[in-house]
């Protein structure tokens, strides 16, 4: 049973906007601290959100991030319009990346993005296909 969730964050993410990339992650982190969420969970969330946010910045044509919370669950949704992920299994393989050489030179695209998200998330659901954008839903348990 999950209680009614309330939206605590909604932010647009622009494609290739490396300047503001990471802001949603910082904002969410601050909000969770204000709500008294334990620091281990705050850290997990910061890592997950940052990865997903940067995926939108690097791979998509832009999108948005939404966070909803109830007393026992945190839900993070990241939806983008873009090329989508052709092979989801590959995307969850460590080291696999479709990032361009330019992006790799910037230190991104190590192929650990979704792998890390999966590692820290309690549930993850990715819906995507070619040219249909990517829609990620992550659940983080808050109840002990």
């Amino acid at each position: 049973m999950s209680l009614q969730k309330q939206q605590i964050l909604n932010k647009e993410i622009d494609s290739f906007d490396f300047q503001s990339g990471g802001e949603a992650s910082s904002d969410l982190k601050n909000i969770l601290r204000k709500l008294g969420v334990p620091s281990k969970i705050v850290r997990k969330t910061a890592i997950i959100t940052y990865e997903l946010e940067m995926n939108v910045v690097i791979h998509s044509l832009g999108g948005e991030i939404t966070a909803l919370i109830s007393e026992d669950e945190l839900e993070i949704r990241v939806d983008d319009s873009g090329p989508g992920i052709e092979d989801l299994d590959k995307a969850f393989t460590a080291g696999f990346s479709t990032a361009s050489d330019e992006i790799r030179e910037m230190g991104f695209g190590a192929g650990m993005g979704l792998v890390n998200v999966k590692r820290y998330a309690d549930q993850i659901d990715v819906k995507s296909s070619k040219d249909a954008g990517t829609h990620v839903k992550v659940i983080i348990n808050l109840a002990n």
Binding site: I8, S25, K29, I31, K34, L35, G36, V42, R43, E71
Partner: protein, 445 residues
């Protein structure tokens, strides 16, 4: 009454400007009734407000030499590596130490000795543990982590700072060998170290009795140097670990013994940026050790120092060169039985300072969060600080927490006045029914 912090306000000098409010990295200052007050639970003693204040209203009150010499039976002073940056390298360290001792101390010791030992222990710790660690030596950084990055507390290396290490050792040594209980004081370059005297980090109590700011006794030391004649003896030259006084000193020592991936960052703003990146896993795992100092350029940039940090950096580098010349080599032994002399482990765990939550009840916190968003939405977002808070978001939080009133914002006040004026004018044009009917009657006739 013991003070929680070492940075204080000289009320009569405070103009109520918001320079310090804006510059505070933890948003700990609010101007209230024309004076900039520090919120104790948020202050980390970084001294940025002392740097920001053009009216010198923020200051640190350290222990007074005269009082120490008069009241203590056996005062001992610890000299930090950074102190040597306050003098030209031409003046020998022995001479400087002698001058300090002449002020009335029974003995003086170099903290750098313990710094060298701590470096050996740190390397040993890194070689026997996996993961990345953050230096625990700068108390401001530790407090910043406790306050704003509590999830990184586990990365703090659980070893005492060099000052505490040497203070503990001296206390034990004097007790065992001479049955003396010395009062140990630290010659501090920063207010933060003074704060640790009353609020130790990872220990129940500090081994220090107090701290004297460099600025308090520099002049006296400098003046007495001319009267001291001493020959430099190679065996008594200070350790190369004196380089700890400047940024990158600690990592430099570690790297002189073993190849190691480290990163050093100085300045509170930069340190915050780095911690933020570490928090979201955006720093390579390959970096094993982070040396972070709150003051730009490291401890030589401490606000209680006298010499400007650029000259200080030069002085320290020159002195290091000299040490190498005199000792003909590296006088930093890698192998030493430090555990015999020092008790490295912190006796208590470092805990989080949870002050950012809006309410300890989740539902109430959610309600306040909603209220907070509403407040933020109606505020102008100019971050002008005229309300006394550093920015609109912080002000909104103060309002939600009942620590400020919405009308403290001059734009909100103007809006309210405008509305009041509109209401007044509407009311002024409304005639009482009696008058209105009279008017109608006269129109009819």
């Amino acid at each position: 009454m013991t003070r929680k912090h070492s940075v204080l306000l000289k009320e009569e000098k405070c103009e109520g400007c918001t320079n310090c409010v804006k510059g505070c990295p933890t948003k700990a200052i609010r101007v209230h009734q024309g004076k900039a007050w520090i919120k104790e639970d948020l202050c980390i003693d970084c001294a940025e407000c002392i740097r920001a204040c053009e009216y010198h209203a923020k200051y640190t009150k350290t222990d007074q030499l005269e009082k120490i010499v008069k009241t203590s039976d056996y005062p001992v002073l610890l000299i930090p590596p950074s102190f040597y940056s306050q003098f030209s390298a031409e003046i020998s360290s022995q001479k400087i130490k002698k001058a300090i001792q002449n002020l009335g101390f029974r003995a003086v010791f170099d903290v750098a000795e313990a710094a060298a030992a701590l470096s050996r222990k740190t390397l040993d710790f890194l070689n026997n543990n996996q993961g990345s660690y953050i230096s625990t030596s700068c108390p401001v950084i530790v407090r910043l982590i406790k306050l704003q990055f509590p999830d990184l507390i586990e990365m703090l290396i659980p070893l005492k700072s060099p000052v505490e290490l040497i203070a503990e050792r001296i206390k034990r040594k004097f007790k065992e060998e001479k049955n003396i209980n010395p009062d140990i004081f630290f010659l501090t370059p920063c207010p933060a170290k003074l704060t640790t005297v009353n609020r130790a980090i990872g220990q129940k109590e500090s081994f220090l009795s107090g701290a004297i700011g460099v600025e308090n006794i520099y002049q006296k030391i400098y003046e007495s140097l001319a009267d001291i004649e001493l020959k430099t003896e190679a065996g008594r030259v200070i350790t190369l670990a004196t380089i700890w006084g400047s940024e990158g000193g600690e990592e430099g020592i570690l790297k002189s013994w073993q190849e190691l991936n480290t990163l050093s960052v100085s300045g509170i703003k930069e340190a915050k940026k780095l911690l933020n990146e570490i928090e979201r896993n955006n720093i390579p795992d390959a970096i094993r050790y982070f040396e972070l100092t709150s003051c730009t350029n490291g401890c030589i940039g401490g606000v209680l120092n006298v010499i400007n940090p650029f000259q200080a950096q030069f002085n320290l580098e020159e002195r290091i060169k000299k040490i190498r010349e005199i000792t003909q080599a590296h006088n930093l032994d890698f192998e030493k039985d430090d555990d015999q002399f020092y008790n490295f482990a912190l006796s208590e765990s470092i805990t989080a300072d949870n002050v950012s939550k809006l309410d300890s009840d989740f539902k109430k916190a959610m309600q306040k969060l909603e209220q907070l968003q509403k407040e933020i939405d109606i505020l102008p977002g100019l971050d002008c600080a005229a309300c006394g808070a550093p920015d609109c978001k912080t002000f909104a939080e103060d309002v939600v927490n009942g620590r400020a009133s919405r009308a403290d914002c001059i734009f909100m006040l103007r809006k309210q006045l405008g509305k009041l004026a509109d209401d007044l004018s509407i009311l002024a044009h409304e005639l009482p029914p009696v008058m209105a009917s009279q008017k109608e009657e006269s129109d009819d006739s």
